[in-house]
């Protein structure tokens, strides 16, 4: 009975751990920052602007979508850092139905703003708890942003360059291992984004001295990693026998990126006695089976 109860407790424990782990909940078991959630998959057809959402005589209505930071002082602030003037009597509606809003106009709420191009003010805000599909380009409304100070260039910002687009990149890690490594040993990639678990990513042997693994990472991902034989005591060492600093890899914009490394030594290597593998048969180092007479070196 006791055993059964323990079994049940263990099963519940394991189930809890698995449930937590599979949903990425366990602390220290850090994955890559998750893939960006997809935009709303079903396109939302914007409801018609309400009757009062009419442009000034000199303007037209254009709409773009964004996320609110704040609404105050007659301005709507978006997460782009821009403040836009709210027209007197502007309407707040539900983005999906055009009816009364179901979420308050507050920080984090997504909004579809209808701009009167005549005066640059927002005449209607359609609110949504979920991200909204894009409509007008930012450039079309950027000119309506209100700021006291004149815009000044920022030398911190990169004026040129492609940057990282965050798309998935197939990264192929190939590592050459020391030739003395026992044939049946498993090689792993330990990374900072997996909490430095020594068995985070198992690699596949492709020939006598090479292991390989392919993983998708988002471009721009910064990865620190080390190779191990499954424990930190067996982590890679440098050619000089010393511990190596974690390798740094920044995932570039590419479809496929190959990374080739060489491991010269493992931490659990014994240079004086070749590693013949587990269960090595009788040798002078391990001469007697099971019930042993006096041992030898």
């Amino acid at each position: 009975m006791k055993q059964r109860r323990l079994l049940l407790v263990s099963a519940l424990w394991i189930a809890s751990a698995l449930a937590a782990a599979t949903s990425g909940l366990l602390p220290g078991k850090v994955g890559l920052a998750a893939t960006p959630p997809p935009l709303t998959e079903t396109p939302i057809t914007p409801p018609p602007l309400s009757a009062t959402a009419t442009p000034s005589p000199s303007g037209q209505l254009i709409r773009y979508t964004g996320q609110l930071l704040d609404l105050r002082g007659g301005f709507a602030f978006f997460t782009t850092g821009d403040a836009f003037r709210l027209a007197p009597g502007y309407k707040v509606v539900d983005a999906a139905t055009g009816g009364p809003p179901t979420v308050p106009a507050m920080t984090r709420t997504y909004a579809r703003a209808a701009f009167d191009t005549g005066n640059g003010s927002i005449v209607q805000l359609g609110l949504s708890p979920k991200p909204l599909p894009p409509e007008a380009n930012y450039q079309d409304v950027a000119r309506f942003a209100v700021a006291l100070s004149t815009s000044a260039p920022n030398p911190d910002l990169i004026p040129h360059g492609e940057g990282y687009n965050g798309k998935p990149v197939l990264v192929i890690f190939t590592v050459e291992i020391p030739p003395q490594t026992p044939f049946n040993d498993d090689v792993y990639l330990a990374t900072d984004v997996s909490g430095w678990s020594a068995t985070a990513i198992k690699m596949d042997r492709i020939d006598a001295t090479h292991y390989r693994v392919e993983r998708d990472f988002l471009s721009g991902t910064r990865l620190l990693y080390r190779y191990t034989l499954g424990s930190w005591s067996s982590a890679e060492r440098g050619q000089d026998g010393l511990e190596v600093k974690p390798r740094l890899f920044l995932v570039p914009n590419a479809d496929v990126k190959s990374v080739s490394d060489t491991v010269y030594h493992w931490g659990n290597e014994n240079p004086n006695a070749p590693d013949l593998g587990e269960n090595a048969p009788p040798t002078p180092y391990n001469p007697i089976p099971f019930f042993t007479p006096p041992r030898r070196p």
Binding site: A34, G163, S197, L224, E243, P281
Partner: protein
Amino acid sequence: MLAFAPGRAAAQVGPAPFPQPPTTLTPPPVGTPAPGLQGAPEPSESPSTPRPARLSAFGVTAKRVAFYSNRYVLTAEGAVKLQLGDGTRISANTFFMDLRLNRFVAAGDVTLVTSSGTYHGAAFSEYFDFDRAYFIPVTSEPDRWTYTEGQYAHPLFGREMPGDAFFLPDLSGQSVFCYSKKAVVDPRQSIRFTPASLNFGLTFVPFPTYFLNFSSNPNFAQNALPGSEVDGPYDFAGGAHGLATAHLRYDPADNVFFAYEQHQVSANHYLVFAVSPLTRPLKVYNLLGFDRLSPKVEIQVSLQETAFQHDFSQPLSATAYGNLEVTAGLHHSYLQLNADQYYESLLSQPQPGIGGLLYYGDPSHNWVPDHPNDVSLSWIGYRNPIGKLPLYLQLRSSIGLDHDWLTPLYDDLPDIGTIVTQWSHGAGMNVTTQQIKLLPDRSGQHRDLLLTASFDKQRQWFSMPHYIDTQVETASLSRAFTPKVNALVSYSITNTGDFWGSKQLDVYPPTSLSGMNAAYSPFTLEQFPGYSAFRGFATVRSLNEQLLFTPTTRLTLTFSMRENHDFPVPIPGLPVISGGVTFWQNYGFTPYQFTGDVRYRINNILALDVARAYYFNFGGYQRWSPEFLITLLR
């Protein structure tokens, strides 16, 4: 790093370089790390200069603080109050921090209280790695201010800001690992939640506090705990250099028990102590130490004591093992000193008990004062190319000493006597080929037939007149048939020999392992009289074949077959459990073994690996491995 538009989530793990100015709302504007930007963290290194107070640990309180472990983001909602390291206070409606990018946003009805004044605005963003803060104040009208190096009295007016400076991610559908009311965040190091309600999958469990370490220093991952089947860690205290963890564990031998582990680390050292189980009599105490004394010299210590003691009372038995390793890098080579100390008992000699036996408590805790030890100094050369040949050569040599006064290394050898101390010295070499294209693939699809071979030879001479030779020859052929199918065949021969010259038969007498003394299977009691032919010379021949199939990056199937023809023949053994895994503890390699391994990556964090081996009825009872080996990799 990206600059993000509304509706897109931060998806990067990396430094927080400055993105380009906003150009469009969708798709997100892009940013590029600027070469030489200050603050870009070095891997695993502590900052060489102390961080200014304003960039150090800060506190967050709110009605609800939440930590999303799979995104590594911290959020706070409702009456958010921040206190930065320099005393600056910020209140807002909402707070979001990407712990990997090391920056936060406070938004909605923001009040910023600095040493130079109080300001109101819509949002405030802090980039710790670059010591830049961005603020959207609302005075008579909105504006954009940038603070550099904490100069709140002198904002840079109107400066363009990174396009995603105020990005707030969509976290709907994401699971929360920890809820709290208060968090103290040490950028790029840790968070302390007080109190904490932790997600255990089925429910949230309240704790008075929870310490989350997310330092990129791998020394925090050093593990001094012995293995167990299930382990639930709870980090309850810590800091930039320390971490205290209580563990609730389970294994079949001890059932459910507690353990404790303590880390003290820096970029160049670690000290890890663990005791497990805390709540069972047979306790294992481990201490791991490492210090890089200089860029070319490092020292590593490993100490283990195993004690049978109720609670923390006087142990009935206590054994210990200590290992010291000192490594010194030289020009194109290195030296390594390795010393082992084994203490069969740390306790003082007890009074004789029943039958004059020496023991504590009862005879099962017998007292054995044995103390074997050994030390060796090795020189290992670099792997150097041999001229223009496709070969590498590596040389090594060593000197060493073995000593055991209680259990002699050799007992009553004819003409030699009893030996308790033995010196040795050795030399070895390894020659390895580069990958040689045996049959080049003319199609350019990299489907060459590749040959790799290695030859390793070592001889170790002893002060006793004998020497041990070890020779390993390996050759392998591999080929990628398609980008998804890879095959490998490898053959290796290992010869070991203990050469005693005229005393060979004294050391390996023909009769020592025959008849009643014959080696036998502890499971079936089947005798293996062939061991009486063992004269100190063994040969292992292994043929390995492997087929690797990776239909997708998520799924990997590996099928491997190993055939061994060895002398002496292997002896089937018992099933044993180690680290929660049951396996056959054979003596020698099974003659035939087929292994299938399926690995499926569930998500970015987890992979499931399922493997099982078949032993072709070895010993008449070993067919399949005792159990599937199911491993959750993370």
